[in-house]
């Protein structure tokens, strides 16, 4: 009886565990590591330009876009062939970028130029640019695509940009060196991480005010080593994950109360994260230990680490 059941169970499992693909940019290795999230194993390594950091897939998963800062471009990797097929006019030194929800426009932060560049992906042409604060970095887009938020590291602000008029409509002062911005899926909150300040600011996107400052305290660690960067919030808005850099931990935050529920020990110098589309797993890039940690989102446990290239930085996962 027991034996008879096994193949059936196996079938169900493989049907549930959809094989998504994760792409990890390796800042020093000048490569992108491709991971099968079903097997949680590396299946390919793609050579890209110099200093790859920000990485995103197009909405149809056909291309993986990676910002190669030292080559002043965003490269398009054809996900079917694993080849770099085009370079986008990104403006100088692109670091992080985000896609409009319709997948048509790419918004890129140009760190060296104090600008945000907008690029039409299909036509592969620049649509315009917006002047922001000093050293723009983090990029977040509202789920309706109307508001783009850029954080500037030395100006210490979140700039709210109207994507239609390409004008700044509000600026919110946050703690030192803001690096990442993420909206909740219902647009009720914007979270901004401050790497040097060691905090996450929760911002009301309508009133443009900071409503809560999330702070972190880990026994045995000095506050200087807690440096929040990447933020990922579950679709239901109930749980937020914040990568704490050299603290080697990911903080788990209650999305409603904004209290820290738990710290998960991951690899060294954790930068960015990505959910599998079913939100079962969260992958983190660990810059110094050259690996990716896999967090079981329901259990809030680190279940695996995967060796990748040199100094992994960004990660993105297919939706289909």
């Amino acid at each position: 009886m027991r034996y008879a059941w096994l193949p059936v169970a196996g079938l169900i499992l493989s049907a549930q565990a959809h094989a998504y693909t994760a792409y990890v940019s390796n800042e020093r290795g000048n490569t992108v590591t491709v991971i099968d999230t079903d097997k949680m194993a590396v299946i390919k390594t793609i050579k890209v330009g110099q200093r790859p950091r920000g990485i995103e897939l197009t909405k149809d998963d056909k291309y993986c876009l990676v910002a190669v800062g030292d080559d002043d471009t965003v490269q398009m990797i054809d996900t079917a062939t694993g080849e770099v097929t085009a370079n986008l006019p990104s403006g100088p030194d692109p670091e992080l970028f985000t896609l409009s929800p319709d997948g048509k426009v790419l918004y890129i932060a140009n760190e060296n130029d104090n600008t945000v560049t907008m690029v039409d992906i299909e036509k592969r042409t620049a649509l315009g640019e917006v002047q922001v604060g000093v050293e723009p970095e983090g990029m977040g887009i509202s789920p309706d695509g109307k508001i783009l938020v850029n954080t500037s590291e030395t100006t210490n602000m979140a700039h709210f940009i109207d994507t239609a008029s390409k004008k700044i409509v509000a600026n919110v002062l946050v703690d030192s060196r803001p690096r990442f911005a993420a909206f909740k899926s219902d647009t009720s909150e914007l979270w901004v991480s401050s790497e040097v300040g060691g905090t996450v600011s929760v911002i009301d996107p309508v009133k443009h005010v900071v409503t809560k400052r999330i702070t972190f305290a880990i026994p045995g660690l000095r506050s200087e080593s807690i440096q929040p960067v990447g933020i990922n919030i579950t679709k239901d808005g109930k749980t937020g994950f914040v990568a704490l850099g050299p603290a080697n931990r990911v903080a788990v935050i209650d999305g409603t109360t904004h209290e820290v529920k738990k710290y998960l020990l991951v690899g060294q110098r954790v930068w960015h994260m990505a959910f599998t589309p079913d939100e079962k797993y969260l992958l983190t890039t660990n810059g110094i230990s050259n690996d990716v940690s896999v967090i079981d989102v329901a259990a809030l446990k680190v279940v695996k680490s995967i060796q990748v290239g040199e100094l992994p930085w960004g990660v993105t996962i297919t939706k289909h």
């Binding site: 030194d93 760190e111 060296n112 104090n114 002047q131 604060g133 000093v134 050293e135 590291e153 030395t154 100006t155 210490n156 602000m157 700039h159 709210f160 004008k167 700044i168 409509v169 509000a170 600026n171 919110v172 002062l173 703690d175 030192s176 060196r177 790497e195 040097v196 300040g197 060691g198 443009h208 005010v209 000095r222 200087e224 080593s225 440096q227």
Partner: protein, 409 residues
């Protein structure tokens, strides 16, 4: 100072480079409440007549060494300021030989300036700060390394963004110990400042368990730093000078006066590395530093000023950024309010050092890591692993609270 000839040259540096952009920024301003008329923050930059010539041609200080860093920071402050209806600008006061720094401070005070960044040696800085005390002026020491400014001669109106000699020596000392090079041959110049740096090195040796196997003095006999006859003599002088030393691991040179240290590497009698004023040098900043986003700072600086960024530039940049940060967080340009902010827990300055920078409340010294550079790359950054402190590891560099002789007033 009243005569024209002796008057310092005062120039206003306008930092708003693109009026059209400013308009966009101002339209964008809605989120943070500030006074309707905003703040116009003028910062004095008081600098010495001339920097010391260096032995190395490539290290010769540019005419705007330090000032350029301050300008970059005022520019950065101003970019944020545009969103907050705050304007930042510098008033550059370049002293001439024989000028009285106190008179220059009074002149700045007469223009309503209360914040002054200084590139002055210790004595001149004390004169300036004491002259500004009655008017409630706040000074930022971007240049003077003298430990006494953080110890017995400390002032409640001087914040130090320059590291002290003790911090520099400790940063180097920790690395030499980590490297297991505990036997130091100390070579000291004959000027007062060289001896003070040697004192700091000896203090580090004692703190971290190194042994100074011998101390030698290199006398400054005068003469030009560069000659047409070139290096022929030096090539024979240095080996002779360094021979017959007791067994040592590293030669540590104390030569702030730029008389001999640069001649030591590759010319010592024994095949030994050189550190201190040449070879492996402790510093707050180096143009080779690309760590922690530093590459952005370097490229911004090089693009703007067409030269590399020095430690003095960084120390001045940090001072003016601290001012900007304090004004922006407190929405006040009152020096007292600003100083309270700077010494408090809210202060978390990002300065490309991999961690937030804060101020020691016992002597107003900015805590900061010390870079160790060979002039081409960053070899290491102190504090080194294992040098612990119950409050902040950065306090393993320089005079910690229990060792302070400073009574702020």
């Amino acid at each position: 100072m009243t005569g024209n000839a002796g008057a310092p040259q005062i120039g206003m540096t306008s930092l708003i480079r693109c009026p059209a952009l400013t308009l966009v920024f101002l339209l964008g301003f809605t989120a943070v409440s500030v006074a309707a008329d905003g703040l116009d923050v003028k910062i004095g930059y008081l600098r010495r007549p001339k920097h010391l010539e260096t032995i190395s041609l490539v290290q010769m200080p540019a005419p705007d060494d330090g000032l350029a860093g301050a300008q970059m920071a005022a520019d950065d402050d101003d970019t944020t300021g545009k969103f907050l209806n705050q304007r930042f600008s510098l008033v550059d006061v370049h002293l001439k030989d024989g000028d009285d720094p106190a008179a220059a401070v009074q002149k700045l005070a007469a223009q309503g300036i209360k914040l002054v960044v200084t590139d002055l040696p210790a004595d001149a800085l004390l004169k300036a700060a004491d002259a500004g005390k009655a008017g409630g002026m706040l000074f930022f020491n971007a240049a003077a390394v003298a430990d006494r400014l953080r110890q017995e001669d400390c002032r409640a109106n001087i914040v130090h963004t320059a590291p002290s000699r003790a911090m520099l020596a400790d940063g180097l000392g920790q690395y030499l110990i980590w490297k297991k090079w505990p036997r130091w041959l100390l070579v000291t110049g004959s000027h007062q400042r060289d001896k003070l740096f040697a004192d700091a090195i000896k203090r580090s040796a004692k703190r971290f368990g190194a042994k100074i196997v011998q101390e030698r003095e290199f006398k400054d006999t005068g003469g030009a730093r560069r000659t047409d006859s070139g290096v022929a003599q030096i090539q024979t002088q240095i080996p002779v000078f360094t021979q017959e030393a007791p067994a040592y691991d590293v030669l540590v040179a104390a030569d702030e006066s730029e008389v001999f240290a640069q001649y030591l590497p590759y010319r010592t009698w024994d095949a030994r590395p050189v550190a201190g004023s040449a070879g492996l040098v402790p510093t707050s900043w180096d143009a080779a530093n690309g760590l922690w986003g530093g590459i952005q700072m370097q490229s911004r600086f090089t693009r703007t000023f067409k030269r590399l960024m020095t430690a003095l530039d960084m120390q001045a940049w940090t001072a003016v950024r601290m001012i900007g940060e304090a004004v922006q967080r407190t929405n006040s340009d009152d020096p007292k309010t600003m100083l309270n902010f700077m010494t408090g827990p809210q202060m978390n300055l990002g300065a490309y050092k991999g961690q937030k920078l804060t101020v020691r409340d016992w002597d107003l010294q900015l805590r900061q890591p010390i870079l160790l550079t060979d002039g081409r790359t960053i070899v290491s950054v102190s504090p080194q692993e294992g040098f612990l402190n119950q409050y902040s590891e950065l306090d393993t560099l320089g005079y910690d609270r229990p060792a302070t002789k400073c009574r702020l007033q």
